[in-house]
C-alpha cells in the first residue's frame, strides 16, 4: 500500500493519485486534518528501534509506518484547529508537533521529507533559493526585499525534478535543476527560470501534472524504489 498526503483541494495531488493507482495498485489519500479528528493515533519510540506510527482513518483503514511502503507528501499546512482561544492555540501547536513526528517516522520513504517549519518539506525563501543557485555557479535573478528595484523577470521555462528524473526542455536547465535538488535535499522540486535561464522561483510542492505521464512514471518509480 502507498499513500498520498494532501489537502482535499490539491488538484495536482489528486491527479497523481489517479495515475499512481494505475501504476502501483492501492494508494490511500490522507488529508492532514485527519490528524486532529480523533481517529486512533499512535506514535511510539522504544529502546533500540526507530519510531513507528499509525492513524485510524474514517473509512476504517489505517495509515501506518509498517504497512505503507512509501508516501507522496503534499501536505500544505499543519492540521487546522478552529478557535482563537488559548486552548485552541495549544492544540494547534500540539497537533503540528505530533503530525510532524508522524510523517517523519516514514524516514526515507516519504517524499519530500517533512520539515519542522512546513509539513510538506523544507521551504526555502526565494532569496535563499537564488542564493543557492548563485553559490552553485548558476545564474539567478536578483533578490530585493523592501525598497524599489526592477521586478523579477517572468518565468519563461520550467523544470520538474522527481527522484532521478528531471523533466526540462533544455539540458542546461536540467543540470541546474538536478544540482539544486541535490543541494537542497529535495526529492521532488519544481523550478521556474527566466528566458535567459536565470532561476526565478522554486517550490517543494510543484504542479506534478505539468510533467504529464512522464512525471507519473517518475513518481511511481520513486515510491516503488523507496527503502
Amino acid at each position: 500500500m502507498y499513500a498520498v498526503i494532501c489537502d482535499p483541494g490539491d488538484r495536482s495531488a489528486l491527479w497523481a493519485v489517479d495515475r499512481l493507482r494505475a501504476r502501483l495498485g492501492e494508494v490511500r489519500l490522507v488529508a492532514m486534518d485527519l490528524f486532529g479528528l480523533g481517529g486512533a493515533l499512535h506514535w511510539q519510540l522504544e529502546a533500540g528501534a526507530a519510531p513507528s506510527a499509525s492513524l485510524r482513518l474514517p473509512d476504517g483503514g489505517e495509515l501506518d509506518t509498517r504497512g505503507c511502503r512509501a508516501v507522496l507528501n503534499r501536505a500544505q499546512a499543519f492540521p487546522r484547529v478552529s478557535g482563537g482561544d488559548a486552548d485552541a492555540a495549544y492544540v494547534r501547536e500540539e497537533l503540528a508537533a505530533i503530525s510532524l513526528a508522524f510523517l517523519a517516522a516514514f524516514g526515507a520513504r516519504i517524499f519530500n521529507r517533512p520539515d519542522p517549519l512546513h509539513p510538506g518539506g523544507r521551504m526555502l525563501s526565494t532569496a535563499a533559493w537564488r542564493r543557492l543557485a548563485a553559490r552553485a555557479g548558476f545564474p539567478a535573478a536578483p533578490v530585493v526585499v523592501g525598497g524599489t528595484a526592477a521586478p523579477t523577470p517572468p518565468v519563461a521555462q520550467r523544470s520538474l525534478v522527481i527522484g532521478e528524473t528531471v523533466l526540462a526542455a533544455e539540458p542546461a536547465i536540467a543540470g541546474l535543476s538536478r544540482s539544486l535538488a541535490a543541494l537542497s535535499g529535495h526529492s521532488i522540486l519544481g523550478l521556474g527560470f527566466s528566458a535567459e535561464g536565470a532561476l526565478c522561483e522554486a517550490t517543494a510542492l510543484p504542479d506534478l501534472s505539468w510533467g504529464g505521464e512522464a512525471a507519473a512514471d517518475a513518481l511511481a518509480e520513486l515510491l516503488e524504489g523507496a527503502r
Binding site: 499512535h42 505530533i98 548563485a134 536578483p142 533578490v143 530585493v144 523592501g146
Partner: protein, 301 residues
C-alpha cells in the same frame, strides 16, 4: 560587528552583552522592545547588501555583521510592536523580513540559525533525531487512546506526560489522579514517556565547549523546584561530553542546552535539546562562564 537580536531585559542576552564588553567589544543591537522602522536588502549573485532603520532613525548596515546572537525570533510578540499603527507595523515587518533574509543567506555566523532551532518545535521529532545522533532516548508514546496509555504504564511502571510541542509545560507523573482524567486525551493526543530514574544534568554546549550542571530536585521537573532544588557544576565523562558536542553539531546548533539523565547504573539518556537555552539561571547559580564562551564564539574567526 557583532549583532545581538532580542530584548535587552532578557537574562541570557544581557549576560552575552556584558561578556562582549569585558572582551572590549561593544555589540550592535536590534532590541525587539524598540520596533524597527524599515529595512531594505538587495542580493545579486554573491553580493548581498542589507540595511535596517531603527526607531531613532539611525541606519544599521548589516553588511558589516560578522556574527549574531539571536534569542527572540518573533518581533510581533513584543509590546513595542503591538503599540504601533498598521503603517508602522508594516515597516517593522518588512525590516524583520530583511533581517531574516540576511541571517538566512548572509555570511554572518548566527547563533543559532532559525532553521536549526525549529527541530525543538516537535519534541518527538527531535528525540528521533537525537536517537539517530547516538544518544539513548526515553521510551515514548503519543496516543489519544486511554487503553494504549494504560498498557504503556503497565510496561514501564512509572510514566510522565508533557507537551509534544515547544509550548512549555510542567513535566508531571501519570499518577492516580491523572489516570482518572485519562479519557480527556481522546480530544487531543498526549505525549507520555517512561520515567527514567537518576540525576538530571543540563549540559550547555557552546561550539566545542561543554558546561555541565547537576540539577537535584525533590520534584520531577527541576525547573519548578521552588527553592528546594540545587544546581552544581559537574564534570561529564569524556565520551558523553563528546557526544553532546556531536549532538549539538548534528542539529546545527552552535549553542545548545542538552537535557540528560544519568542513571544509577551509569547509563545516560537524552530527553531534549533546547536551541535557545536560558543559561543565565545556570550561570548565576554555578559561576560557569557560559556567556563568555558565547562571546568568544561570536568573535572567533
Amino acid at each position: 560587528m557583532i549583532l545581538l537580536l532580542g530584548s535587552r531585559s532578557d537574562g541570557p542576552m544581557a549576560c552575552v552583552h556584558s561578556a562582549l564588553e569585558r572582551l572590549g567589544v561593544e555589540p550592535a543591537w536590534v532590541d525587539y522592545e524598540r520596533p524597527l522602522r524599515s529595512g531594505w536588502a538587495h542580493a545579486a549573485g554573491a553580493r548581498l547588501e542589507a540595511k535596517l532603520v531603527q526607531d531613532d532613525g539611525v541606519e544599521l548596515d548589516l553588511s558589516g555583521v560578522r556574527a549574531a546572537y539571536a534569542r527572540a525570533l518573533d518581533h510581533r510578540r513584543f509590546a513595542g510592536y503591538r503599540a504601533l499603527d498598521a503603517s508602522a507595523r508594516a515597516g517593522c515587518d518588512q525590516a524583520h523580513e530583511v533581517l531574516a533574509c540576511y541571517l538566512d543567506i548572509g555570511e554572518a555566523r548566527v547563533l543559532n540559525p532559525a532553521g536549526a532551532m525549529a527541530s525543538n518545535r516537535s519534541k518527538p521529532y527531535q528525540i528521533s533525531l537525537i536517537r539517530e545522533l547516538g544518544f539513548a532516548v526515553p521510551p515514548t508514546l503519543i496516543s489519544n487512546q486511554p487503553e494504549a496509555v494504560r498498557e504503556f504504564l503497565r510496561q514501564h511502571r512509572r510514566v510522565i506526560y508533557k507537551s509534544a510541542s515547544a509550548v512549555r509545560s510542567i513535566v508531571r507523573e501519570l499518577d492516580a489522579e491523572a489516570l482518572d482524567r485519562l479519557d480527556a486525551i481522546r480530544a487531543c493526543p498526549v505525549q507520555f514517556q517512561a520515567l527514567m530514574e537518576g540525576l538530571d544534568i543540563r549540559v550547555h554546549v557552546v561550539g566545542n565547549e561543554v558546561f555541565a550542571t547537576a540539577c537535584t530536585s525533590p520534584v520531577i521537573d527541576y525547573r519548578y523546584a521552588e527553592g528546594e532544588g540545587s544546581l552544581s557544576p559537574c564534570v561529564l565523562p569524556e565520551d558523553v561530553s563528546a557526544r553532546c558536542v556531536a549532538l549539538a553539531q548534528g542539529l546545527g546548533l552552535p549553542v545548545a542546552g542538552v537535557d540528560l539523565k544519568r542513571h544509577p547504573d551509569g547509563g545516560w539518556t537524552c530527553f531534549e535539546v533546547n536551541p535557545s537555552p536560558g543559561f543565565s539561571w545556570f550561570e548565576h547559580s554555578t559561576g560557569q562562564p557560559i556567556a563568555n564562551a558565547i562571546a568568544r564564539l561570536l568573535l572567533a574567526d
